[in-house]
């Protein structure tokens, strides 16, 4: 990413979308919408002071909603460019309310609430589509109860839970536990606010709240409005302390999730959704199980799959090592249903095809290896550029010219073509750039000839 940001020959137009294409191979004209960030890219140093102060809290899409961000944000800490962006859907100022805290905080004077979308036109010889994939939404599979059972998560959510920069700093805390912890935090915050208010009253009337409360209950100060507020606040405070206690007790028992189940082919190899194999999910489940075990050596993982497709360089060995050293058990079978058991533990019912028996087992957390769904961005871009898609909505290519689209001069790579892992995507990126360079070279040659 950094290399892209710094490369003298790369003009990075982030937070932008292609709107229109004209011309043909060797001589395209592309119209790009540069969306308003409300932050001047050349002034913002990426220091993040603004987001510290911004009062508006929004669920963080990068951490797939598992954490929070502010209305002014950078997509993630290492993002390039590091320029921050105001989310106009949530920003108070842009919604017409009074705020502008970020503008006051920003010492670089980069905030500009008046910024507008801009359209820029660029001339290019060739185009590469690398718009990638979407993560399949598993709530479509009712029997897995992804929406209902908090401790059923997707691989991408688990990836964030395992990440040192994720919402749990890498400890695989269970979403149900995280929710309880968030509740405790909210209650404590509220208790703190009440405590401060109460202290003010105590100072004002030079009396302890408990002594005052007794008198108040005995009917003293009946018509004193100020003291009534004190009494209410005190009662509320006591009530909160009472609710918080048992929750806190419960939370003391929370540890990281140690019994993990990974369910493969969620939406893949499934006629109801995508009949194809998403290719990379077997490996990322093994990877996540190995990492979870590295973080907490008591972790055991069960991977439920039809075939474990470890077909890349070194993958089979990785899989075996995972089994031997990281407590991974591979079970051949498709999971029929997930239900919620005691302690928010998901219970998985499956057929163990080797023992030919239907079994069920309780886990701390279930991770769904969701399919590589054709990207909405890819579909939109394809329609805009006029390139054909295949029957699943991946960009159509031929095995003998794997990065050529149906339109000359437009090439494609990565998960826009089909589900691919990182090494395959990187190889294809080089392939696409080769084909694009050929076009540019040939059209330069033609121009030279025309001049000569």
């Amino acid at each position: 990413m950094l290399d892209v940001g710094r490369h003298p020959n790369i003009d990075l137009l982030a937070y932008s979308e292609v709107e229109k294409l004209e011309g043909r191979s060797g001589d395209f004209k592309v119209t790009v919408r540069r969306k308003a960030r409300y932050v001047e890219e050349d002034k913002c140093t990426g220091c993040g002071a603004c987001k510290e102060k911004c009062p508006t809290v929004v669920p963080d899409a990068f951490n797939v909603g598992l954490g929070d961000r502010k209305a002014i944000y950078s997509w993630f800490a290492q993002g390039i460019p590091s320029t921050h962006t105001i989310d106009p859907e949530h920003c108070r100022q842009l919604k017409g309310k009074k705020c502008g805290v970020c503008a006051k905080t920003c010492l670089a004077e980069a905030i500009n609430f008046d910024q507008k979308d801009r359209l820029v036109e660029i001339g290019v010889g060739a185009i590469i589509v690398a718009t990638g994939y979407d993560v399949f939404d598993p709530s479509q599979i009712f029997e897995y109860r992804y929406k209902e059972i908090p401790n059923v998560v997707t691989s991408i959510e688990f990836e964030r839970l395992l990440s040192a920069s994720g919402p749990t700093a890498g400890h695989a805390g269970r979403p149900s536990d995280l929710a309880v912890e968030a509740e405790i935090e909210a209650l404590e915050k509220k208790a703190g606010r009440l405590q401060r208010a109460i202290t003010k009253f105590e100072d004002k009337y030079v009396e302890s709240s408990s002594a005052f409360s007794k008198k108040y209950q005995d009917g003293e100060y009946k018509d004193d409005k100020d003291r009534k507020r004190w009494a209410d606040k005190y009662a509320e405070h006591l009530a909160i302390l009472e609710t918080i206690e048992p929750i806190k007790k419960k939370a003391e028992g929370f540890t990281v999730a140690k019994r993990l189940a990974f369910i493969q082919c969620v939406g893949s190899r499934d006629f109801r959704f995508y009949p194809f194999c998403s290719g990379y999910c077997c490996m990322h489940s093994i990877k996540e199980a190995i990492i979870a075990h590295e973080h907490e050596t008591e972790t055991t993982s069960t991977i439920f799959g039809m075939d474990i497709r470890a077909v890349g360089k070194g993958f089979e060995q990785y899989k075996i090592r995972g089994g031997n050293n990281s407590n991974i058990t591979y079970i051949r079978g498709r999971v029929a249903e997930i239900m919620e058991g005691p302690d928010n533990n998901p219970v998985v019912t499956y057929e163990d095809t080797r023992e030919r028996r239907v079994k069920s087992e309780e886990f701390d957390m279930v991770i769904l290896a969701t399919a590589c769904a054709p990207g909405r961005g890819t579909i939109e871009t394809a329609n805009l550029l006029g390139i054909e898609l295949d029957r699943y909505d991946f960009v159509k290519t031929d095995p003998l010219s794997p990065v050529d689209t149906t339109t000359p001069g437009i090439f494609v790579c990565g998960c826009s073509v089909a589900p691919l892992d990182v090494p395959e995507s990187v190889s294809q990126a080089s392939s696409a750039s080769e084909r694009a360079a050929e076009v540019v070279f040939q059209s330069d040659l033609k121009k030279e000839k025309a001049v000569a």
Partner: protein
């Protein structure tokens, strides 16, 4: 240029990074402290040293304060060192007289609640940076010209042919060296290619024609590369051809030597007639299957995913399914059973072919490697691990799916080019995820089955990709290398033992005969400055620019002080 060690004037710039640093460390104290350090002539704090204002402050100070060393105490060199270096250069100071101290990621961010201790650690870091800065020497970037804008492609299979045509079409000269009489590699022996069922012969013919007619491509068949000398942009290559030896100047090299199919001698009664490999069945299908052959059993993972060859060879499952489909097409009453461990039909097209085969009646039977199938006269017995019982399958023909293995002479190629192979004997790329088509050594690239078994779609993509990677130095015409590399600082100390040569991961060292005897020589464009050699040399003859023993010792001394 300022005189060495004479009148060193260091400027220290302490960045607040908004509140990222200033919010957690006492920056005023840091400023006062920096002023007390030896050789420090100027100290200033900036809100953002990287902003336009901050950069101007550095430039002005170099000029007005006559600074000859600059230290910035701020964030991480990963993102900001290039910026600060170029700012020094713009003000006329050699960019390598710059040192960066990370007091954010390694200090304020990790000690957010320990203002005092954090500040004291930042002081240590700054003191160390200043001590090193005083000893920095100017360096000049190393620019090496690409003398020959010509590529050598070794191996004329589909990978090598694709790469050659791509480079040829970009206007570069290509020398393609093929060991066999004919280009095409494995494809010469195949019948129809899945998933599209294209004729392999047609595909090869078309590629060979393109190459033969191509003005930029020179082909040597029945030829091998016998010696390679030099480095990126400047190789001298010896090729042994059927009509004598050739010497060519080469700029970049692509390894596309492919693989071969493992022959299962002694396994499952392999005899090349009734028990054959997938490659042999391709030939049978090409000629036309004997209509008398009705019952066919294929066994997967023969010679792979075992102790000797632990890898899954990726393409054998798809090859088996393809051939099963072709068999049922040629001989509609044929019954094909595939005995497998996992059906590796990854991706979109393979899974489609897999489904198609089931529709065509191909049977899939999962076996357990602990209870492998037994091939007997006219039948195969197998324990069906999903039904949990033994079964006998009639078999007029048994096809063994064996893995693609490395070429027999891969180790020779590896030695000639000084590039590594992995534990299975395939060539080893620079980084498995991020640099799949480069070797760690600059100037040499890889693609196709030489890297790992791959189907045609993947192989063609890699051929194009390797061509793209290889074209970068050719199109630039030169290679620029950061001068932070190894140098033979003490020639007399070097005994020419070659310990470092053996350990260098980038083949950047060689021992040469000189007037003073055998001495190591650093090929500076190949060196990445990793420091393995300097750390290894018991004579302390080698040293890394900007990380000399002296500079590092000064840092340690400053810390311990």
């Amino acid at each position: 240029m300022p005189d060495k060690r004479e009148n060193i004037r260091i400027g220290v710039f302490i960045c607040h990074c908004g509140s990222n640093i200033a919010g957690y460390l006492d920056v005023e104290e840091l400023e006062a402290f920096a002023k007390t350090l030896p050789n420090v002539a100027f100290v200033v704090r900036n809100l953002y040293t990287c902003s336009e204002g901050g950069i101007n402050e550095i430039k002005n100070a170099i000029d007005e304060q006559n600074l000859n060393r600059v230290v910035v105490a701020s964030c991480t060199p990963r993102t900001h060192e290039p910026l600060f270096r170029s700012s020094c250069a713009e003000a006329g100071l050699n960019p390598y007289l710059f040192e960066m101290v990370n007091i954010r990621d390694q200090c304020s961010w990790v000690h957010m609640r320990e203002r005092e201790k954090g500040t004291s650690k930042a002081k240590d870091l700054i003191r160390m940076g200043v001590a090193k800065a005083a000893l920095l020497e100017p360096q000049e970037p190393i620019i090496s010209e690409v003398h020959a804008a010509r590529a050598l492609v070794i191996g004329g299979g589909i990978a090598g042919m694709t790469a050659s045509i791509a480079l040829g079409d970009r206007g570069y000269e290509v020398v393609l060296v093929e060991k066999e009489e004919r280009l095409g590699g494995m494809l010469n022996r195949l019948n129809m290619l899945g998933p599209t069922m294209t004729d392999a012969g047609d595909m090869v013919k078309e590629k060979i024609e393109t190459i033969t007619d191509h003005p930029n491509i020179t082909v040597f068949t029945r030829a091998t590369v016998t010696d390679v000398d030099g480095f990126i942009g400047n190789y001298e290559v010896d090729i042994e051809t059927k009509s004598g030896n050739e010497k060519v100047d080469i700029g970049v090299i692509i390894v596309a030597t492919g693989g071969r199919l493992f022959v299962p001698e002694g396994l499952y009664g392999y005899d090349g007639r009734r028990v054959i490999t997938q490659l042999e069945v391709e030939e049978v299908l090409g000629r036309g299957l004997d209509p008398a052959v009705k019952n066919i059993v294929m066994i997967q993972c023969v010679g792979s995913r075992n102790e000797e060859r632990p890898y899954c060879a990726r393409i054998c499952c798809q090859t088996a399914v393809k051939n099963a489909i072709l068999i049922t097409e040629q001989n509609p009453d044929a019954k094909v059973s595939i005995l497998y461990r996992d059906m590796q039909m990854y991706g979109v097209e393979n899974e489609e072919m897999f489904r198609d085969s089931k529709v065509k009646g191909v049977r899939f039977i999962k076996y357990d490697p602990a209870r492998p199938p037994r091939v007997e006269e006219g039948k195969v017995s197998v324990f069906h691990s999903l039904l949990g019982r033994e079964m006998d399958l009639l078999a007029d023909l048994v096809v063994l799916s064996t893995p693609v293995v490395p070429q027999e002479d891969a180790d020779v190629t590896s030695k000639i080019l000084t590039v590594p192979v992995d534990e299975n004997g395939f060539f080893l790329e620079g980084h498995v995820k991020l640099r799949p088509l480069d070797f760690a050594t600059d100037g040499v690239f890889l693609c196709g089955s030489a890297r790992f078994p791959a189907n045609i779609r993947e192989t063609v993509a890699q051929g194009l990709g390797a061509a793209s990677r290889a074209s970068i130095p050719l199109s630039k015409g030169f290679v620029v290398v950061e001068p932070i590399i190894s140098v033979l600082a003490d020639e007399d100390a070097c005994r020419g033992c070659g310990l470092c040569v053996a350990l260098c991961p980038y083949s950047a060292l060689e021992v040469r005969d000189t007037e003073k005897g055998r001495k190591v020589h650093v090929i500076d464009v190949s060196c990445k400055g990793c420091g393995v050699c300097a750390a290894t040399c018991y004579q302390h003859a080698l040293s890394i620019n900007s990380f000399t023993d002296q500079q590092i010792n000064a840092q340690i001394a400053a810390f311990l002080n």
